[in-house]
Symmetry: C2
Subunit: 227 residues, 2 copies
């Protein structure tokens, strides 16, 4: 465990062609055998708690590190590192609302990629901008939390379109909110018919096994794929 978490000040990207750059990064990471997962959400959806629960279930099978992107602060990276023991670094975006591939690369440069199977990028808490930029990840995933409401796919269409997996978090408080999981799934599938939906409660642990299984299975399939 680290005494202090590493904080990296990310510089604005100089590459105009982000999509090309993201494809290059994906290839480099494939060659190194490092699976990059992009995890997005609104602020306060429970990304960090979900990651802690998930990492504790997979860290004996998969060598994992976390990159926490935030405007400011380092609380999340410290918490992940202290609780799970896996390497966690904090990326400061300097006020920027998203990460692109080059900015993601700046973070990856600070990790020991030769000894990792999985890097999870916890993107800036924002349902708009991060959806527009390919980070070079193998998969885009997001967390939607119950208190946010089941209508979010109607309001943030691109985010739900680009995500392969939607984790619905905080299902333990469903009785206190007007949230219909089936209606939410319908809205999600209007945006992306292939999106998978996994309901969880990072607080009680419900559903975390399903996400952990999805993730380990994903990495295995990807490691065995040509690209």
């Amino acid at each position: 465990m680290m005494d202090e978490v590493k904080i990296i000040e990310i510089k604005k990207s100089v590459f105009a062609e982000n999509e090309k750059d993201a494809d290059s990064l994906r290839k480099e990471l494939k060659n190194k055998g490092v699976y990059l997962l992009n995890l997005m959400s609104a602020p306060g959806s429970g990304k960090t708690t979900t990651l802690i629960q998930t990492i504790n279930r997979i860290k004996d099978k998969v060598r994992v590190a976390v990159m926490e992107a935030d405007i400011d602060g380092a609380v999340d990276a410290v918490r992940i590192n202290v609780v799970t023991g896996v390497p966690a670094i904090q990326l400061h975006t300097g006020g920027m609302c998203h990460l692109d591939a080059e900015m993601t690369r700046q973070g990856l440069d600070h990790l020991d990629l030769d000894n990792l199977d999985l890097v999870i990028l916890e993107n800036v808490g924002n349902l708009v901008c991060p959806a527009e930029f390919d980070t070079g990840a193998v998969r885009n995933t997001m967390i939607l939390s119950v208190p946010e409401g089941d209508d979010k796919p109607l309001k943030y269409p691109l985010m739900f379109t680009v995500c392969d997996l939607v984790i619905v978090n905080k299902i333990d408080v469903m009785p206190y909110f007007d949230f219909d999981l089936e209606r939410c799934k319908e809205y999600i599938h209007q945006r992306n018919p292939k999106a998978q939906v996994i309901p969880i409660s990072a607080k009680t642990g419900e559903g975390i096994d399903a996400f952990a299984e999805w993730l380990v299975n994903e990495i295995t399939l990807w490691k065995n794929s040509k690209f």
Copy 2:
């Protein structure tokens, strides 16, 4: 009440100097006697429900209209119009994550400003980008909801710095979340020592009177001010 809500497709702003433009808009609105309130928050914080509750309390005293900014959809504007009877228009930002003064003006052009005292701009659900752009509003306000966590001022410093009022919503579910109101106030005041904090539950109605009173008082003071 309108049968169908007006949807305005906002075009990207051509003004480079947003701050100057915002000041001009503020002056124009002052001359017309229309108070513009900018209301920001993360997705799913309960902006629309809060507005409905508040408008129902003030609409006999104050002639109010609402502009709902969203990437897509028109559910919020329709709901506000149907439930409160006040004019509500929907601004589509075409994927943009914020509104600046010129974009706000495009919305205002569709309202009958001669017969209004207050226009509430429900900004795009996002704690990053909207904080960076002056819309021309008299006041910036935001809603932070309990499920998002009390640490949000640490992660989204600019948003909490630019807001004169932070409404803490969903206090009815406080027992189910690890949210310390006093700690949250401390974090808010680290960012902006002058920020007011009003705890509410848009669901139960608790605290809405305090916000309605703040708003009516604000408008009165502003109408009597030189500028």
